[in-house]
Amino acid sequence: MNKNEEILSRFSKESGYKVPEGYFEDFAKKMAASLPEREIKTEKATKWLRIRPYVYMAAMFAGVWCMMYLFNDMKGRTGSEYGYNEQLAEAMEDNQVARDVVDMSNIDDYDILQQMYEDNVDPSVFGDSSIN
């Protein structure tokens, strides 16, 4: 036992405080009686609450459908840019434009004929001596 404990050992563990007779029993009774009422929160089952899950589900399906629609639409538009372009088709009807395009790129007659044979196009239908 050290010095500090020696000093404290002179005292009992009783603090010397006391309470009125039957205080704790009375306190518990009075306290329980004075507790305010608590509101029990219950949600009233309204029409909206009943149909709410179905509305959420319908909205989810509509969202998925919209996403798929937009995705397909974008895919179609991307294909059409290269598949058919009115301005390009009109310009390519002029043989001079086609020749200028060929001249500007490093494509010679042999490359063009080879591509036409690969695409099963008969070069004679064009009736242009320069590429026959």
């Binding site: 404290l8 603090s15 704790f24 306190f27």
Partner: protein, 182 residues
Amino acid sequence: MLNKEKEEELVKRLQNPKECRQAFTEIISLYSEPLYWQIRKMVVSHDDANDLLQNTFLKAWSNIEYFRGEAKLSTWLYKIAINETISFLNKERQRQNESIDDDAFLVASLESDEWFDGDELQLELQRAIASLPEKQRLIFNMKYFDDMKYEDMSEILGTSVGALKASYHHAVKKIETFFKRN
């Protein structure tokens, strides 16, 4: 202190709106005495301790939906009681222009208090305890009078076990110095 099974059962009933009130009434019966003594040793006066104990249970009752059983029920109640006590002491010190490091004014009239029947030595010990800073006083009371485990004290006060041990050691040394001087 309750055993684990009883505490779990009480917490379950607290969360059931139909059984909540009855469960809380049981809690009042179980914890009013230990909480009262904890408060009383800090504020000294029986009437003040009685008011603070009522406030503690009212606060616990109005916040019962926030208690989900993550902490022990006793820890939660002790925390509320200690917060109430500290707020009360701060107001009292402000009212009487006293410093936080010396609550001697609390025991000034202890001799004539009808709810104190301690002998001269017990009165001297209360004076020595009142001379401690607030937190040390709280720790000393929990350890010396209630023999509370440091782990439980750590949960209630939010202080590490090491710091609590050091604080208790300092409190005991100060009490020894107090008795040497007097």
